[in-house]
Symmetry: C2
Subunit: 502 residues, 2 copies
């Protein structure tokens, strides 16, 4: 019976453990009940006698009993004492449950996992989970040379940044702790509005600006709001594979939008294109080819989009950096028909660990996006938004950009000179001198996927152009070099070592 069982044999109390004794006793009794060593309805010893048996204080027992009573494992009948709850389901089921210390739980998890069906992914879930292997990057403190989308972090003005963090930290008041507008902190939205107006020719009101966790979230929310499963999307070929994955995760059926030296060519699309609900383009600095979309192509595309009532995503990820000429103004600024969804990334303007970007939507859809931000996501922590705001508002971003443009230009020059010197007959550069990457076609008979493997083995992270290909055209055999995260010297030395791989 309960009284007998609940002895020193069953309840192991260990005074050396940091777990308090009443908690150990609670766990022991709970386990005895769940394992059915204590039968439903059986009586428990009086607190005094159990305390004596276990040589602990009576309060320890009282605390343990109270908790078990509160949780429903035990019931108390006035006068007649404490019993195991009769209404607990029967032993068979019980045995399947886990209990005891977290350690044991963690240890047993894999085993118990085996003997039960796991939660299944939905069709939608499988689309999200089904990502290319290319999507499995390695995370190191120091990004590997030639990694993509990383600015010259070694030149980031940490002193300025940390001062703003310190000042903002000091300025936190209890008024800055409560719930904020899910779409973003208005002063930052205003600053982004002004900034993009000045440097990218954007035309918008601050309400149209949403602060995101980066471009991926912006693409995801936009395609979620505009697309149903199976809808057609015109996607640059070759085009940014992460964007492609985000669109596919939302059930988009991608149709190639050919890209040549003048950028994406809507004219080259066949009749099926006319069913497209959305066009994804990187007009200012095409990813991955790096070409700039000509003004004819831009006007053509916007006109086509208007005639076929198609929305346009303009991914303007790194276009503030242009080295041979000033950056081309945004497509959004040229679109008077309010169908462009403009996206920018502060990860490239400032640094990736910030994980912040912005999405500028047509005024007619501001309400819909506000709802989306409230229900399925929200803008980043107020503190980070305030720090970024101060960095922009105090003129640091503009200064930083001008400085970075020079630094990136030097790194770009180092890259193309090194390629010209060490790989003249192996690689042919394409695209314009801009942004944070440069792409080269492979002139020898070697698939890029094989080459990047070899290059990875000597410690560099170069991307294969074919990863961005929709049609797997033989033309899409090349290497995509990021030049932001290495000094000219590193870059030159890196290319020299890569040349040895060929």
């Amino acid at each position: 019976m309960g009284k007998v069982i609940l002895g020193v044999g069953v309840i192991q109390l260990d005074r050396r453990k940091k777990t308090p004794l009443h908690r150990q006793l609670y766990e022991g009794i709970r386990r005895a009940i769940l394992e059915s060593k204590l039968e439903r309805g059986s009586a428990l010893p009086a607190t005094r006698s159990l305390a004596k048996q276990l040589n602990i204080s009576r309060m320890t027992v009282v605390n343990a009993y109270d908790q078990l009573l509160a949780e429903g494992y035990l019931t108390a009948h006035a006068g007649s004492g404490t019993f195991v709850n009769c209404n607990l389901p029967d032993d068979v089921k019980m045995a399947r449950f886990s209990f005891g210390s977290a350690e044991e739980g963690a240890a047993m998890a894999p085993i118990s996992a085996g003997d039960s069906v796991q939660p299944k992914l939905s069709a939608r879930g499988r689309r999200v989970a089904a990502t290319d292997e290319g999507m499995r990057p390695t995370y190191k403190d120091q990004p590997a040379l030639f990694s993509l989308g990383i600015p010259a972090l070694d030149e980031f003005p940490l002193d300025v940044w940390t001062k703003i963090c310190r000042d903002r930290g000091r300025a936190i008041s209890i008024f800055g702790l409560t719930y904020q507008q899910a779409s973003g902190w208005m002063p930052l939205r205003q600053a982004i509005c002004e900034f993009t107006k000045l440097f990218r020719g954007i035309k918008c009101h601050p309400e149209q600006v949403f602060v995101t966790a980066g471009i991926q979230q912006a693409i995801d929310l936009t395609s979620r709001l505009l697309l149903d499963t199976g809808d057609t999307v015109l996607f640059e070929d070759p085009g940014y594979w992460r964007a492609r994955e985000a669109l596919k995760a939302n059930g988009a059926a991608l149709l190639p939008l050919p890209v040549d030296a003048n950028g994406a060519s809507i004219r080259s699309c066949g009749p099926p294109a006319e069913s497209a609900k959305l066009i994804y383009i990187t007009p200012s600095h095409q990813f991955p080819l790096g070409v700039t979309m000509s003004i004819e192509r831009r006007i053509e595309l916007l006109d086509w989009a208007r005639r076929h009532d198609t929305a346009v995503i303009e991914d303007d990820y790194d276009s503030v950096y242009s080295y041979s000429q000033p950056p081309i103004p945004s497509l959004q600024g040229l679109d008077s028909s309010q169908r462009t969804f403009y996206m920018g990334s502060l990860s490239k303007l400032l640094f990736p660990a910030l994980g912040m970007g912005y999405l500028i939507v047509p005024s007619s859809l501001v309400g819909a996006f506000e709802s989306a931000f409230k229900i399925v996501g929200r803008s980043p922590s107020l503190f980070m938004q305030q720090v970024v705001h101060d960095f922009i508002a105090h003129g640091h971003l503009e200064r930083h950009m001008r400085r970075m443009r020079k630094i990136h230009e030097q790194r770009h020059s180092a890259l193309i000179e090194a390629i010209d010197r060490f790989l003249p007959d192996k690689l042919q550069l394409v695209g314009a001198p801009a942004g944070l990457h440069r792409t080269a076609r492979i002139l020898i008979d070697q698939p890029d996927t094989v080459l990047i493997e070899k290059i990875a083995n000597i410690g560099f992270k170069v991307q294969a152009l074919s990863i961005d290909s929709l049609t797997n055209s033989p033309d899409h055999n090349g290497l995509v070099f990021g030049f932001g995260c290495g000094t000219p010297k590193d870059i030159s030395a890196g290319i020299r070592r890569i040349a040895a791989v060929f």
Copy 2:
């Protein structure tokens, strides 16, 4: 002809504007081309003569021409000079485009918006956009008395927090600037793993912990991965309306899971429930009723979920705060079949503006969630994750929790005493003394929606119970009071004023 047109009459240069002259000239010529005042193919004046005409330096003209050449508005024929690009689409289409300063663009946007079809929302998009009016909160620095989900911000240890921000700010190195693991910073995930193990009886490995932007994102991602449109979800009735909106936004068909004094009762669900893919519950402290799910009910539900292979969302939003007894351990810790998705919010433990929470998923789905975080979202800025990590790792969170528990208990007491004193025959409290809110049924013949309107008019933000109702049962007529964001004195005075409204 171009030469004639391009005179002082067309190009207005204003030396007082902060816009540089070459930019003004560029804009003027670009506009003249887009407005077709300059015909396609017409010749532009030589830089020297235009400079003289406009009384500006030749370099200013050269810069403007270069930019227009780069953008494709102009073409240069060696020897014969500079011309407007013949290949630009014809005037009719052109006229529809916008140009000029951002201000004008913004001004004309509404007009031009009118004469073109707007991007349409998809069916999925309409679901996201279709949110209850209840979802439109007002954002003030100081939350209104009785607002929900807000802890005692006036007692938050700002000094400790700002010191950590300062120290972390000082410690930022260029190695902390690059891309981070999308699922969250591992040291924080480990800290959350330990913390939930200790205080909520969670059993998991750090890899199962994902750092989210809050509970809404956790619910959204989970339902996205587990549900297809039209799938059935068992949802507490009454239940947390924001969670309901997130599930509906993902196309879930909600089936009521009745809640009584012992919490959600799976036994009370009819056969249709057996098709459910997912169950959403708040077992430790039910929202909105505040009841605690009995151990029988927990075991029953987990057993039912196993037999019908149903996944379970455990929303554990505020259960570290329990005043009459220690908090009930989590359902996740009782579930050995790895089907529970556990969610917590740091907005309630720390402060809402932080916008951070965590999601603990079954080990079998870690890979799928990692993909989701990479493609459609990502964990918050590294800096904030580090600050939160330090706050937990240095023992501040545990201290803070114990302190807050006392403070919240006092505020809770003030609330129930005031209701007992000022509204004894009007309101009847339900649920347990726990969390950050308390709910009361209305005993008089008045709909809660009418009452909260009246209460809002005297400046307090009380929620109507009926907002959380799926079945609109007459039983769901009540008031939900948040007691975290007011001193006992405020709360008592507030209830007294509310009593006058009845």
